[in-house]
């Protein structure tokens, strides 16, 4: 029950965050201007979907007999398969039980894809986007985040998952995969070491953690996937997208089995997405970037709820 004083308190809280919300508005405008100026089109995807994306550790929030999307990825790939070569999406996504300083069950995600591109091309786009946003919104190429100055240009350090784990956790997940140990060591040993004075890109994930990325043509133990960290904050996840329908179906089936083994609901395979893959998805790259996290970084805020209007 909200009382009159709670409502007054909410009003005061919203009013006190005017400068943050105005900055947020300018960032959303600048993101759109960046892509619009590069020949991309913005597309809306359904928020309520009949089948959520099948991922081992991402749970969807149910909405009647459907689900709230966890990401617009499958719809965007259907557009790519239909011949749209440069597309982006900016809007809310929802994930069950994700709540913390850096997680909100409802958050704002930017995703963009382009055909005839791989994950390293997408990294160049990401660098250009963040450089342009910093220039326009901060008027500089560095930012201050939790007492640390971070230079956004010129060096973005690229480190492979193997090297990062060997250095900070003492083992190589590519040689000896252990899913539980991977997640725990990533959070407790590797990620804290990525808190540097420049952006760090963790790349070339073990094939077992490929998710929707294609494997490296010259080394099938590795997936063409990267994650961007700035100030230790994980900002974006990118792939050279998997375009092989048979391999994709196999990964979905494995994932559904693993979800069932963990006692999670095993979502059915999204057959609309599968038929788009079968008809032919061009070689393409894509990335999902958390807009709220980017705002936290630009505004030096350590709580995701501070940069969203309502929480």
């Amino acid at each position: 029950m909200s009382s009159a004083s709670d409502e007054a308190c909410d009003g005061a809280d919203l009013a006190s965050r005017r400068s943050i919300l105005e900055f947020r508005h300018r960032m959303l405008q600048a993101v759109r201007a960046f892509f619009d100026g590069r020949g991309y089109i913005e597309v809306d995807c359904p928020i309520r979907v009949p089948v959520p994306a099948l991922e081992l550790h991402i749970d969807a929030i149910s909405a009647g007999d459907q689900w709230l999307r966890t990401s617009p990825e499958f719809h965007l790939k259907r557009l790519l398969a239909a011949g749209y070569s440069k597309i982006y999406h900016l809007g809310p996504c929802f994930r069950e039980n994700e709540c913390g300083n850096r997680h909100s069950p409802e958050f704002t995600m930017l995703e963009w894809y382009r055909s005839e591109a791989g994950y390293i091309d997408i990294l160049a786009d990401t660098k250009a986007l963040i450089g342009s946003l910093a220039d326009e919104l901060l008027g500089s190429a560095h930012l201050d985040w939790q007492g640390r100055r971070i230079d956004l240009l010129p060096v973005w350090e690229l480190v492979t998952v193997s090297d990062a784990f060997l250095e900070h956790a003492g083992w190589d997940p590519v040689k000896a995969w252990d899913a539980d140990r991977f997640d725990l060591d990533l959070v407790e040993k590797v990620e804290p070491a990525l808190l540097r004075t420049h952006p760090v890109v963790l790349k070339d994930y073990p094939a077992q953690a490929a998710a929707l990325a294609c494997l490296k043509p010259d080394n099938p133990l590795l997936a063409e996937r990267w994650e961007l960290y700035i100030g230790g904050l994980e900002l974006a996840n990118a792939y050279s997208e998997l375009t092989d329908a048979d391999e994709q179906r196999k990964r979905f089936e494995d994932c559904a089995r693993e979800r069932a083994a963990l006692g999670k609901s095993a979502y059915p395979i999204d057959e609309s997405f599968m038929s788009a893959l079968q008809n032919g998805l061009p070689a393409c790259g894509g990335v999902a970037l958390g807009i709220d996290r980017l705002l936290m970084l630009f505004l030096d805020e350590n709580e995701i709820s501070r940069v969203r209007p309502f929480h």
Binding site: H57, I58, G100, N101, D180, F182, L184, A209, N237
Partner: protein
């Protein structure tokens, strides 16, 4: 049983037969990975602290804890004795009571927390009333509200009170902060 997603600050869990309370909590989730719940916790029996991480599929034991209304009776050496309406006694050592022990008065109604059948903690009423047994005399007419001076309450515990408070006065204390609230006479 609790699952890891139930973890939050203040939750009480059982590990190897001991009750622990979560004192701090961080949720992390690496991209595409599983949720990691890092918890700082305090042992409710020994006060020992530790850090533990749980993954989303971990299950945690729920301790058998219950609050029972009792009244404070007397102190016996290092043991504080409480009694319920059927005159059943429970005793708590001073280290389990912590600072709360200074705010006990005879016949004060409290909640005693039991783990299985053993008493492990106390919840005091939010406010208690104590008599000042020692303080510098207050200047007459000095009603400044923001200037404080030290004063001892029964049990020789020192608090800060307003200048006009004298020996023999009764004061109201907020047990959650341990601070003086007002003089009641």
């Amino acid at each position: 049983m609790y699952s890891a997603s139930d973890l939050r600050k203040g939750l009480k869990i059982e590990i190897e037969g001991q009750p622990w309370i979560i004192t701090d909590f961080t949720f992390s989730k690496p991209g595409k990975g599983q949720s990691i719940y890092n918890c700082k916790m305090k042992n409710m029996l020994t006060g020992q602290t530790q850090n533990r991480s749980y993954r989303s599929n971990d299950k945690l034991e729920k301790p058998n804890l219950s609050d029972r209304p009792m009244v404070y009776s007397y102190i016996d050496g290092d043991e504080y004795i409480f009694m319920d309406e059927n005159y059943v006694q429970a005793s708590l050592k001073s280290d389990l009571l912590g600072e709360d022990r200074h705010f006990l008065t005879e016949d004060l109604e409290v909640d005693i927390l039991f783990f299985n059948e053993g008493p492990v903690g106390i919840t005091l009423p939010n406010f208690v009333f104590k008599t000042i047994i020692e303080t510098e005399p207050g200047a007459k007419g000095d009603t400044a509200t923001n200037v404080m001076k030290p004063a001892k309450i029964e049990g020789d515990y020192e608090i800060q009170v307003q200048l006009f408070v004298n020996e023999g006065d009764t004061v109201k204390i907020d047990t959650r902060t341990g601070e003086y609230v007002e003089r009641v006479r």
